[in-house]
């Protein structure tokens, strides 16, 4: 008799283990989907280390993956710590474009960037290029002009851009769809609640015949 209950208990615990494994498998599939890729800078215009004669009006950084809207920061620092970026950088798919004021004296320029990677990690870095001839902005007064943005640059809040650009609604909508956003969170929360609910019900049903061993308890 006792060996029979033991056997039944074993069958039951194997069944429970299989259920647990199936749940874990389902969880694996749910958990596996939302991760996004980590971005890497793949190219830029001007190129890193390039020497150019003509001052560009925009700097483009290209990543291997879509960059997330918002959070992007680009700086352009010229000779003598002068600042040349203008307004907020624009994100278009994998490309981040920053407007620059007409560049100043010939010399080395450093472009610093910090963008939010598709996988949610901030990535930062820099590229450098050399301007071989003085640009249109290389006038004596630009010393005073460049000191002003440098002083306010520490504030992370963007200074009001000269030409306010309406947010790219279609890009934002596309990204929201890609993230799954709220819908995904709701699914997760619901899954957790269902699990907790099942656990509670099973626990209460099992607890009723007090003092019995779990293997010999009522059917779970």
């Amino acid at each position: 008799m006792s060996s029979l209950t033991e056997f039944l208990g074993k069958v039951k615990s194997v069944r429970r283990l299989l259920t647990a494994l199936m749940l874990a498998g389902a969880a694996l599939l749910v958990g596996a989907s939302p991760a996004q890729a980590h971005n890497v800078l793949t190219g830029s215009d001007p190129k890193d280390g390039a020497t150019i004669a003509e001052a560009p009006d925009t700097i483009t950084l290209e990543f291997d993956q879509t960059v997330r809207q918002g959070f992007s920061q680009v700086t352009v620092i010229g000779p003598g710590e002068s600042r040349w970026e203008e307004g907020k950088p624009e994100v278009d798919g994998p490309k981040v474009t920053a407007k620059v004021r007409p560049l100043g004296p010939a010399g080395e320029y450093v472009v610093g960037y910090r963008v939010l990677s598709a996988d949610g990690h901030p990535i930062s870095g820099k590229i450098t290029f050399k301007l071989s001839q003085d640009g249109p902005g290389a006038r004596p007064e630009d010393a005073g002009q460049s000191a002003e943005p440098a002083a306010t640059a520490s504030a992370a809040a963007p200074a009001s851009p000269a030409a306010p650009q309406g947010p790219d609604l279609s890009a934002q909508a596309a990204e929201a769809a890609q993230n799954g956003g709220a819908a995904m969170a709701v699914v997760w929360v619901a899954a957790a609640l269902v699990l907790l609910g099942i656990g509670t019900i099973v626990a209460l049903r099992r607890a009723r015949p007090s003092g019995e061993r779990p293997q010999e308890g009522v059917a779970g």
Partner: protein, 354 residues
Amino acid sequence: MTVTTDSAPDPAPAVEEGARGGAAVRRLMVFGLVSSTTAAVLVASAFTGEEAAPGIPMPGPLVAHGLPFVRAMIDLAAVAVVGLTVLPKLLGFGAPDRTEPVMRRARPLAVSLAWVWALCALVTIVFQTAELNPGQVPTIGMVIDYVSGVGAGQGLLFSAACALASAGIGLLALRFGESVPAEMRIVIALFGLLPIPVTGHAVDSVWHDPIMISMELHVLGAALWTGGLLATMLFVAWDRELLASTLPKFSKLASVCLVVVSVSGLVSGLSTMALTPGVELPGALVTTGYGWLLIAKVVFTAMLVPIAAHIRFRLLPKVERREGTAVATWAAAEIFIMGLAYGVAVALTRAPVG
């Protein structure tokens, strides 16, 4: 994180005597795990920190050091919870008069550590929001924006929810004992680990899903291995009779985990590097911080193998004969190295691949 394991008096005098003798070694295990993880994550993060971009404000030292630390504490708390929920399966249900006193001490610890896990996950969300908004104290609105916009935030939130569910069902287990199915507790705790790889890297290719599954297996295997060893050693190592029936079961689990963790770790680490543009594989292992961290993890795993083999093949037969062994000391060394690997793992999830 304070963990006291020697609070409740044991009913069996022999166990009590042994437990007193082992208190120092148990404290050493817990302290060793926490300190080795903390040291490894701080050193490795400093080594592979985000490159400073000229003219762009970077996160302050509190976020730069606090974020990896709290992120590592999520892992440790989760590992301990997984270990404590696996413990009843390792102990078996055949001799409740022996195992019940052990479980009576393990269950409340599982509940409090699940709370630690949930709180660390929530603090990590706040820190990651702060990381994206350097120089600002994150407001609730910013945190909500972060969670609704970034998958890593949702993953952490889900992990915190699972930790809370784990605490909830742990409370039920506290009240109703082992009639709350152990499998249910294990699955909920493991469920909470699944979103953790989502907070790390991924690659965009047809191999994305296989690599993610490999990462999931890595996380699950590592947690079962480390957590199982921790729980077995903290609660069973000084009861020879119980250890003789528990350690063989853990040993089987550990062998499987060792294989799963090594293979999945190599697969996901190397393929993530191979599929990242601009990363040339053999060379990048020694030229990038990511490669160095990967090598460090391989070295730690290689260090674990002889210790695990010693316990498995030399000490286990003696343990089964109820002879006294130095298994706890060896396990303490193993746990220490596992802590180092966990610390490096956290830095690895945050290090730039390229």
